[in-house]
């Protein structure tokens, strides 16, 4: 009988260990819209990058997988009585697929040394838009510098030295100091291609990151198609030019409108909105008016056609190496070394629900992780092998946290040890998610340790009580 009890104890101990192994890691991590948490199924995505220049123009070619061409952004849908905005940003994928695909790239020329070591992490301050504890748009708009001077309406990326206190998004250094920082080259150039809001007019948005995510001077490639006073679109498609006044909602959400169709509202293909037209339920007009961008903001062009095919986007952007705007753009020179980091949005996500890369060095005629090929003529032939970049979902990890006592590697960061020395992209993706549930995971982990210790102790008690003692 005791032997049976002994076997039962052994079986119970091993069985519970088996159940623990089988169920571990479940029960805590889950999507939680209330906390603005949405975790993608894939944590890493590959990106291929090629760079070429001819001495005056530099070309970047990006290729990455995307299950579908995300060419739509937010729209105005007629519901039978009124025009309603559809496609507002949500945590994770927009349910109707109404968020555009994007590729973006931050560039530095060595003036922001932390960027070359930690990439975009340095731009993520506490309480940025999309984080679980995001600061409200009203607070940003009320801020004397960020809101009233720079016209920001949400907490965007910024560089650490633009704040007096690393932990406080609002503690901006005085404006003269901000300008001095920019004059000293302390900003990141930001190339920002959008499948809906910039691609149809053949450009990528030209922006930069300093005190916030700001746009270069000039006019951007899109405006909002909404007449707030009349609660209706400002423009509609020009039937004479494109054959219809509006798109159809069902065609959009069921993917029947493709890249070769007019899926956008371009200024030169639009006419003033006619409220008296016989609108039908489901008529849909893009909420963005596309137009030619101007000034420094128009520096980056789409080279050829950016296309999605067979599950991949293939996008090539070009820009003059010297734009003449050294306070808004990083100027490329032959034999120069630069630092770059990439990001994509796919599967109808916006905001922080992107995939990002660690920083890479870019060499123009210099040895680097990504080497630009020199070519003669107008367009590169792309003979060189692409650089393979691993993009990862970054979760919620901010720069103050990276520098805090909650990060074991903070002393290494202070010593200038690059992120790549201790972390892989895969690791950072998992860590970023675990940080979103840090308190809940810690609680469950403590209970798991305790449960295991009690199980071992109880098993030891049973084992020794059921075994024959020496001399017994």
């Amino acid at each position: 009988m005791k032997r049976i009890a002994l076997y039962a104890s052994l079986a119970l101990f091993v069985g519970v260990l088996g159940v623990s192994w089988y169920t571990h890691g479940t029960g805590v991590v889950r999507n939680d819209p209330a906390r603005r948490i949405s975790i993608p199924e894939r944590l890493t995505v590959p990106l291929q990058v090629q760079v070429a220049h001819n001495g005056t123009t530099i070309f970047f070619r990006y290729r990455w997988p995307s299950p579908r061409a995300g060419i739509f952004h937010d729209v105005l849908r007629y519901d039978g009585n009124a025009w309603v905005v559809r496609g507002d940003a949500v945590p994770g994928p927009q349910p109707d697929g109404l968020h555009e695909d994007r590729v973006s790239m931050m560039v530095d020329d060595g003036h922001v040394p932390e960027f070359g070591r930690y990439g975009g992490y340095i731009t993520v301050g506490r309480r940025l838009a999309g984080l679980s504890d995001e600061v409200s748009g009203r607070e940003i708009q009320a801020h004397p510098y960020l809101g009233q001077r720079l016209a920001l309406d949400e907490a965007t990326k910024y560089l650490p030295a633009t704040r007096q206190n690393l932990d406080d998004w609002a503690a901006t250094v005085p404006e003269p100091d901000q300008q001095a920082l920019v004059a000293a080259g302390y900003f990141l150039d930001l190339w920002h291609w959008r499948a809906h809001r910039s691609n149809p007019v053949g450009v990528a948005d030209d922006q930069f990151v300093g005190a916030g995510r700001l746009s270069d001077s000039g006019r951007g490639p899109y405006a909002t198609n909404w007449d707030a006073a009349r609660r209706q679109p400002r423009l509609m498609l020009d039937r004479a030019r494109v054959g219809r006044s509006a798109l159809n909602w069902d065609d959009i959400v069921q993917g029947r409108v493709g890249q070769d169709d007019v899926y956008y509202l371009r200024e030169d293909q639009a006419v003033p909105f006619d409220a008296a037209a016989s609108w039908r339920t489901g008529d849909t007009i893009p909420r963005r008016i596309l137009r030619s961008s101007q000034g420094s903001r128009a520096d980056i062009a789409v080279s050829g056609r950016a296309r999605w095919a067979d599950g991949f986007w293939d996008v090539t952007l070009s820009r003059r190496m010297d734009t003449g705007n050294p306070r808004e753009d990083k100027i490329f020179t032959d034999r120069g070394i630069y630092q770059v980091a990439f990001a994509i949005h796919r599967e109808a996500t916006g905001g922080r629900w992107h995939y990002v890369s660690l920083p890479f060095t870019l060499g123009l005629g210099r040895s680097a992780e990504i080497e630009a090929a020199r070519f003669e003529g107008e367009t590169p032939n792309w003979q060189q092998r692409p650089a393979n970049v691993t993009l990862f979902y970054p979760g919620q990890v901010n720069w103050p946290l990276v520098n805090s006592t909650r990060h074991a590697g903070a002393p290494n960061v202070r010593a200038g040890v690059p992120v790549r020395y201790r972390h892989s992209e895969d690791q950072l993706a998992h860590y970023g998610i675990e940080m979103e549930f840090n308190e809940a995971i810690q609680r469950q982990w403590r209970l798991t340790i305790l449960g295991g210790l009690l199980l071992i102790a109880a098993f030891g008690f049973a084992l020794n009580a059921l075994l024959r003692r020496q001399g017994a």
Binding site: A5, G452, A458, Q470, A472
Partner: protein, 185 residues
């Protein structure tokens, strides 16, 4: 304290690995060598557990607790170390209490099974520690293949915790019954 942890941790690894080999030898052999080495088993296990406890304590001082408790890999290392220490303490107690009789009959295979499990726990703890210090090994990949992504914290859901609690109660009841049965003989 990192370098000191790295120094001290060699002792439990060496002692408990040796103990595993001694148990394996004794499980398969009743020869003179096996019996001789078995006589050193309790001191080996005792030193292994004591040095393991020292390594555990020093390990908790390598980084601020707030930092190591926030790191998935750090959490995993602590969990594996705590369980390993407790598990080998169980083996020590068993060999100490049961004496040489533990090698009689079927129980020698129980000891062998427990030692193999203890050796695995020890190897996992060491591999995670090495990974944490920046020197990952193929063991990390092996754990992934077995279903544990070591960049995620090892924890179990509430239902499994409830199952563990129930198992603890059943084991205590079996132990209590065993003691009473023995006392009655």
């Amino acid at each position: 304290m990192g370098p000191y942890h790295a120094v001290v941790v060699h002792f439990p690894i060496a002692l408990l690995t040796t103990a595993t080999l001694v148990i394996a030898l004794r499980a398969f052999s009743d020869g003179a060598l096996a019996r001789s080495t078995d006589r050193a088993l309790v001191p080996l296990l005792a030193l292994g557990v004591l040095s393991g406890a020292a390594a555990f304590a020093i390990g908790l001082m390598v980084w601020p607790l707030e930092a190591i408790f926030s790191s998935p890999l750090g959490r995993n290392h602590i969990l594996a170390a705590a369980w390993t220490l407790a598990y080998w303490a169980l083996l020590l107690a068993t060999r100490w209490i049961q004496g040489p009789a533990v090698w009689d009959g079927f129980t020698r295979w129980v000891m062998l099974g427990l030692a193999i499990l203890g050796g695995l726990l020890l190897a996992i703890t060491g591999a995670l520690g090495g990974h944490l210090m920046g020197t990952p090994t193929a063991a990390s990949e092996g754990l992934r293949l077995l279903g544990w992504e070591i960049y995620t914290t090892y924890y179990v859901p509430d239902t499994t915790l409830a199952l563990i609690a129930a198992a603890v109660l059943v084991l205590l009841a079996l132990g209590w019954w065993g003691r009473r049965a023995r006392a009655a003989v």
